[in-house]
Symmetry: C2
Subunit: 341 residues, 2 copies
Amino acid sequence: MIKNDLFLRALKGETVNRPPVWMMRQAGRYLPEFMAIREKYDFFTRCRTPELASEITVQPIRRYGMDAAILFSDILVIPQAMNIEVQMKPNFGPYLPNPVRTSDDVERVCIPDVTVELDYVYKAIEATKELLNNDIPLIGFAGSPWTILCYCVQGQGSKTFDKAKAFCFTNPIAAHTLLQKITDTTIAYLKEKVKAGCNALQIFDSWGGMLSPTDYQEFSWRYINQIIEALKDDAPVIAFGKGCWFALHTMAQSNASALGIDWTCSARNARYLTGGNMTLQGNFDPARLLSPPMEIKKMVTQMINEFGKDKYIVNLGHGILPNVPLDNAKAFIDAVKEYNA
Amino acid sequence: MIKNDLFLRALKGETVNRPPVWMMRQAGRYLPEFMAIREKYDFFTRCRTPELASEITVQPIRRYGMDAAILFSDILVIPQAMNIEVQMKPNFGPYLPNPVRTSDDVERVCIPDVTVELDYVYKAIEATKELLNNDIPLIGFAGSPWTILCYCVQGQGSKTFDKAKAFCFTNPIAAHTLLQKITDTTIAYLKEKVKAGCNALQIFDSWGGMLSPTDYQEFSWRYINQIIEALKDDAPVIAFGKGCWFALHTMAQSNASALGIDWTCSARNARYLTGGNMTLQGNFDPARLLSPPMEIKKMVTQMINEFGKDKYIVNLGHGILPNVPLDNAKAFIDAVKEYNA
């Protein structure tokens, strides 16, 4: 049904001629065609207008021909749907004017009817599927409950998310109540995304690496695993925890179809920590896309050799940076397509 | 000569009744007596006035009785001495108005006569030694050359230090010239610090964890190791790389007397990665000091049990947070002093 199913086959662990490739944040600010839309429409208008979200989603595919598209959206549509106000401030990032700080605040957080509140996402998926014409698979995504809690409690981005951690460590009961509400909402949301046409799912745990191994199990992995268990029969699930090398062994025991790896974990370490038999995705340092294109190509080839071409999805170790030249992004994608085992 | 030499004995790997304890940033904003001085004098006045720097250094010792003091200063006194302007902006952090961005900029960076330019630091050490009265050892410190480069090039703090990395990846020759200049200055500076009375040294590589394992070896560890080799006969050197778990194996082959560990690396992993025979220092999550005091004490005892009481220095995994209650810091220190093997 999907013409280029390289990505889905890698998720199943099948033997392939070359690994599939896509880039986290591939529909992003390094693309002039994205910037043109960004100048006209604010962030949430872009997310909520199916014509815009779908157009943005396919822009990088048209230019570079990645093996998978990922729906343009944001992890913070979830707290928004849960009746927590989220603003996207220019030159600042997400801002939540009424952060969750007490047990009462947690009580007031609602579990929404995601079929109603996030209707615009499924419409964007349908519009994207039409544009993609079954050429490649479409990935849907959500933030991990811990990462969503980080924003809900801190109220904005942070280097340490100290307020979010303080909340969990001083009021663990309220924290777990909030995490469960986010988890339940996320599960319902992702099920609808698959129904609308997503072929695979990715959970982004951007701030899992802020936690100690013990706290990670308690406040993050437990909930990610609930999501994986609930979705495993709907679509393949990729779990990506930035800085979560210490949990890879546990994550590899789960029903995730693949694990995302950041660039601080070498291919050898990643294969060792995950038992050598799991599909892995990553892990090019986004800042290394600032190297000259010829050097990028060499490093990508070496990366594929180190991970091995099978059970592997080429990607960055985090989102692409806005200042990456177009030719450098092209070198990254082309190096994978030109790969000869 | 030093009455309580627990810290120095742990650095030598000797058997002790309990491990020594200190806290990174122990002379800091969580202390009301520190805040009183901070209200009257700006950052660099506090660093440059021996009476103030020494008073601030001993404040936490008076209150809690740690087993080591660490001189109040800043890693950015090095670029300042190298003729790069450094400002400390309130509510913003370090700001370098003329960042290093080109080969010409690197050429203009000078290697200073540290005996002249950083004279105020040695005077602060002498004043501190008098206040300490040989009760406990005094630690001197410096940033790693990579971490100093991060600020020199980026010009301010950053979540990704993308400009610093771009500089290294697009102009590696200039980057290595700058790193070598910083290294040479740091070695001369640390030798003077030992002459002035420091009993041990710590290298802070706060941003080493931003680099891939390969880039870390090239842009960070190579220079840290030069410093260790140059200082190993002057004083014991502790190397602390935040997020640098992936390099612990290499670091353990060096002549460092101890390695700092952050809280994402469990005691078991840290012992395994360093070969089980190295003195380790760390690794309590600073945000866990926001837990109730009784819980802190339990967690500290468990941490000591996991690292083992020998070849171990109790510390946080990064600097203490400004919002930690005094009783919680006390619980951390007391738990170590009350430890019974």
